[in-house]
């Protein structure tokens, strides 16, 4: 049954209000205007008034255009044929090939019962010592990369995607520059992973609202693959663009803003997406790595702030390096206790000493005399930055640990490292006096 409603009451921003009966909350409609058809989603019901957010934007929609309700929520056709394909935020192919048919999958599925989640315990080795030693990535983890415009966050994301041991890679691009999109595609092609990758890309040139569906599409597809036993890695960039789209809709809907114009439910909206990262009991897993650009390099901005409270840690990418301070993988304790017995000791000790080195540098920069201890720290800091912090390194974990020991032995006496005696005795690379 096709039912048309021709009574558009209001067009404001990207929200169109029509009068209609028997419409369900959260379901879809299409609006046919001179610009063509666009999907729209019900975001409020009030008596006979239905508010719809229009994915293609409301430009060109007139008050006697036709609205047709589809009586179903947003769905994505699921099949193996999705692999190797590129779509936009409304599920239209972006690669010039035809649409994909498959089992229709509701996006925004119910929450996973926590008792059916496994405790994640598989480390994802990336070959980057700043990740592997200091903040190990763990299967099913959700981690953001906090960065600012201009930093190579997309490159880092792509590189982790290439090197990580995942069955399926899903990229969700939101507000992506067209060049960046092409670069991702090129990297995946050259790395030979395009055949097991799916890309949902919303570029900065596309209507803003369309980017709202990108994370849901990625996660719905990823979840289904995970349920089939696959190990899925979802890469999202940039979640700040997603949040800004949420803000836009909330303001148009006259919701009371809570912080810098963002809606009060920003935390909930973000959590509903990030929490999809999962390690299923007796099935596969979905790991989520997301870029969050921090406006003004301000981590207290609502988007990075709320994200930090949801995700299991964060990486700070600054000056082309993963910052050792502030960067944190909360799940690292699940895996780094069983790699090698010195892993944790090295991790703690190097960071504490590097923190002290920073203090000594500050003192030096202010022109104070350097004590012997300061000089040791300065030496350590330089070596650490050159041999460990470099992001272009590709070192297996044990080699990276050995390298840390070497640096420590070159700079300090065993007692100065703060590492307990038993570990020192076993791993100190030069004979102990």
């Amino acid at each position: 049954m096709r039912k048309y409603f021709d009574t558009i009451q209001r067009i404001a921003g990207n929200v169109v209000t029509v009068s209609a009966d028997d419409v369900a909350y959260d379901h879809l409609a299409t609006i046919s205007s001179a610009r063509g058809d666009s999907l729209a989603q019900v975001i409020r019901l009030e008596e006979s008034l239905v508010s719809l957010q229009v994915f293609a934007g409301s430009q060109g929609v007139s008050n006697n255009d036709r609205v047709r309700f589809l009586h179903k929520p947003m769905q994505v056709p699921f099949s193996e044929n999705l692999l190797g394909r590129v779509f936009d935020g409304s599920m239209r192919p972006r690669d010039g090939r035809g649409p994909v048919n498959g089992e229709p999958l509701d996006i925004g599925s119910p929450v996973v019962n926590p008792v059916r989640r496994r405790m994640p315990d598989e480390m994802v080795e990336t070959g980057i010592p700043m990740i592997d030693i200091f903040n190990s990535l763990v299967e099913s983890q959700k981690l953001p990369i906090f960065s600012v415009a201009g930093e190579p966050y997309n490159e880092l994301l792509a590189r982790v995607g290439l090197q990580a041991n995942a069955d399926i890679i899903i990229l969700g691009g939101m507000g992506l520059r067209h060049d960046d999109y092409l670069k991702f595609r090129q990297t995946f092609e050259e790395g030979g992973v395009l055949g097991r990758a799916i890309m949902f890309v919303h570029t900065a040139a596309d209507p803003v609202v369309e980017c709202l569906l990108v994370p849901d599409l990625c996660l719905a597809v990823g979840e289904k693959f995970a349920l089939q036993g696959k190990r899925v890695l979802v890469l999202l960039t940039d979640m700040t663009a997603f949040s800004d789209a949420l803000k836009e809709i909330a303001i148009i809907m006259e919701q009371i803003p809570s912080n810098r114009g963002y809606p009060g439910d920003l935390y909930t909206q973000l959590a509903r997406r990030y929490e999809k990262a999962v390690d299923f009991d007796e099935a596969g897993s979905m790991t989520l790595l997301a870029c969050v650009t921090m406006p003004g390099d301000d981590v207290t901005h609502p988007v990075p702030d709320n994200t930090g409270y949801i995700t299991e840690g964060q990486f700070y990418l600054r000056n082309g390096r993963i910052e050792p301070f502030g960067s944190l993988s909360r799940l690292k304790q699940q895996v780094n206790g069983k790699t090698r017995d010195d892993h944790r000791a090295i991790m703690d000790s190097c960071i504490q000493l590097y923190a002290l080195c920073r203090e000594s540098r500050e003192k030096r920069d202010m022109g104070f005399e350097m004590s012997d201890w300061d000089r040791k720290l300065l030496r350590f800091g330089t070596m650490f930055e050159e041999r460990i912090m470099d992001l272009s390194l590709n070192l297996p974990l044990f080699d990276a640990l050995d390298r840390c020991w070497k640096i420590l032995a070159e700079c300090f006496d065993p007692a100065e490292t703060g590492i307990r005696r038993a570990i020192i005795e076993k791993h100190w690379p030069v004979p102990l006096s």
Binding site: P114, E275, A283
Partner: protein, 574 residues
């Protein structure tokens, strides 16, 4: 009582009622496929009721029916709560998993207690006795506890026990007693009863001043910022500062009878960690699994927001129930900010006039009322039961000058503020030793503690000065103070939560180590150069750290202690 939906906006539904409705009562929004979505009346205006729906509202339509119930949002109380894992509305998650699989399906609800399990009841009262609300009729063994079956808390005035069953095995639905009121009306009693979650449950002779220290085995807490049984505390901190780890180790090691963990709007992964860990861990005090003393209320951040608001109340009610048995209960709410945000979301949908940062104007009074549910009670028969509440706060941007932190600080007895500077430097637990405070008395002699506080403050001043004038511009005396403050921080305040021994320190060991640390601090190191002082402190730090990692009374422990004593005897000369 019936109604019809007239509007849907996120988790808020407006319904038009045919007749009367009770504020905070339960309603079910019936989707066209027959699924009934649980909701609560939160505002009544004329013939219209605003309902917060505890499920996703996807698929609801205008004119869909709403069925109202008389009773307020309640939980069921009785034997079988311990060891359970509930969602925010007391649906047992393991049972849901076996019934509906990986996902939580909207509209599927399961009773919080198993109705066909049999419990061995032993009467303690006898027929003819006069009893009142909260009095014990008998007990059933529940794990390591004697679960008291009590006269319903809703009972008003005195009752005579007309009938009481003998010792035997009963389900929670079997009648076990019949009580007769003075006016002759009868009150049948089973082993289960309901209680509305938003009404504090407290049936007692009087409320006592909480004074008994609650030993968490976290040194910085027990020694510097103590908590007491029946008291309240809060842990505000930016993300990544270790709030949840601190709550988890408290749940594991705290010297308390029962722990209720209300994971409110936080990560599912953290709950899973607790779910998988606790059944394996043995409580050294009882020799039984930790799960036997734990109840987990789990409303993770992805679950519907209205149920998040209810989850802390559900936790508080279950905790209060066990307090009525004369037990010591600890409720850990993580995080209260998520609960406050849930209120903000609902308030926004209700179009209430917003207060600061769009939080509702009643935020502070709600926070105060929640923490006031803690307390030490002298019960009807003279026993004492306590409920301690510890809540984490997740302030936006890590800035404590925000409404939830400020509203909480006004009403709690101890403030354990986590600092990003400390966590960035991996100084865990990252409780700030200078900013935090506690109004309670602890396990360390106050006079000694005052000296340490002075040392830490003095050391901090010197450190700040040193960044300006440098090490060479600092006197040897000041320099020594700064190093001693660092020493105390390194070997006493910092604790490795992931080391089996260091993670938990008993009160006796804390007192002993504290005195030893003090001996070192009081040592007059004979030094003429800063290098010598630093060397002495490095050695002492190394000795104490190794000592901390040694299990109490092991040979290793004794060995390190001996070395420390030698160090002290030699006045730090090495």
């Amino acid at each position: 009582m019936k109604g019809k939906i007239v509007a849907v906006d996120g988790s808020l539904v407006v319904a038009e009622m045919e007749d009367r409705v009770v504020q905070n009562s339960v309603g079910y929004c019936v989707r066209s496929d027959g699924t009934r979505l649980l909701s609560e009346v939160i505002r009544v205006r004329g013939q219209r009721a605003d309902l917060q729906v505890f499920e996703e509202t996807r698929g609801l339509r205008v004119k869909d029916p709403v069925e109202f119930e008389e009773q307020m949002l309640s939980v069921v109380l009785g034997p079988g709560l311990l060891g359970q894992i509930y969602d925010g509305l007391q649906n047992p998650l393991p049972q849901l998993a076996s019934q509906v699989g990986y996902f939580l399906q909207p509209g599927v609800y399961i009773n919080g207690l198993v109705s066909d399990r049999r419990w061995d009841f032993t009467p303690t009262a006898k027929e003819g006795d006069t009893v009142a609300a909260g009095d014990t009729l008998g007990t059933v063994p529940e794990g390591i506890f004697e679960h008291r079956i009590m006269v319903p808390f809703t009972a008003v005035g005195g009752y005579r026990i007309e009938k009481l069953v003998g010792a035997g095995s009963y389900t929670i639905e079997d009648p076990i007693a019949e009580l007769v009121a003075e006016d002759g009306s009868t009150l049948p009693v089973t082993m289960q009863q309901n209680w509305p979650v938003k009404v504090p449950l407290s049936v007692a002779r009087q409320r006592l001043m909480p004074v008994d220290p609650l030993v968490t085995r976290v040194r910085i807490v027990d020694s510097m910022f103590p908590i007491v049984r029946g008291g309240t505390y809060c842990i505000p901190g930016p993300f990544g500062a270790g709030k949840t780890v601190l709550q988890q180790i408290t749940a594991k090691h705290a010297e308390i009878d029962i722990v209720v963990i209300a994971a409110c709007g936080e990560r599912a992964g953290e709950v899973v960690e607790t779910l998988r860990d606790f059944p394996e861990l043995i409580d050294p005090r009882t020799g039984r699994s930790l799960m036997e003393r734990t109840i987990i209320i789990c409303n993770t951040s992805a679950m519907p927001v209205a149920a998040r608001e209810a989850s802390v109340y559900t936790g508080a009610t279950l905790a209060e129930y066990y307090r009525q048995m004369g037990l010591h209960v600890l409720l850990l709410a993580d995080s209260t900010s998520r609960w406050a945000q849930a209120m903000r979301e609902i308030s926004g949908r209700l179009e209430e006039i917003p207060g600061e940062e769009a939080f509702p104007a009643y935020l502070e009074s709600r926070i105060a009322a929640f923490y006031e549910r803690a307390g030490a009670l002298e019960l009807g028969d003279g026993r004492i039961g306590t409920l301690t509440i510890g809540g984490t706060v997740s302030p936006a941007g890590g800035n404590f000058e925000e409404p939830v932190t400020q509203g909480t600080l006004k009403v709690v007895g101890a403030f354990l503020g986590l600092s990003r500077t400390r966590s960035d430097a991996r100084r865990y637990p990252s409780i700030d030793p200078l900013d935090s405070w506690s109004k309670y008395g602890g396990i360390i002699d106050n006079e000694k503690m005052v000296r340490i506080r002075r040392l830490l403050a003095h050391g901090n001043n010197v450190r700040q000065m040193m960044t300006v004038v440098g090490e060479e511009g600092t006197s040897l005396e000041d320099f020594t103070v700064a190093l001693k403050a660092d020493f105390f921080d390194n070997v006493y305040l910092q604790q490795n939560a992931f080391d089996d021994v260091d993670a938990a320190t008993t009160a006796e060991r804390q007192q002993f180590v504290f005195d030893k640390v003090l001996e070192v601090i009081d040592l007059q190191v004979e030094a003429t150069e800063k290098k010598q002082v630093r060397q002495a402190i490095v050695v002492a730090t190394d000795l104490f750290r190794n000592w901390n990692y040694a299990a109490s009374d092991s040979d290793e422990y004794k060995g390190w202690l001996e070395k420390i004593d030698q160090f002290i005897a030699s006045k730090g000369r090495t």
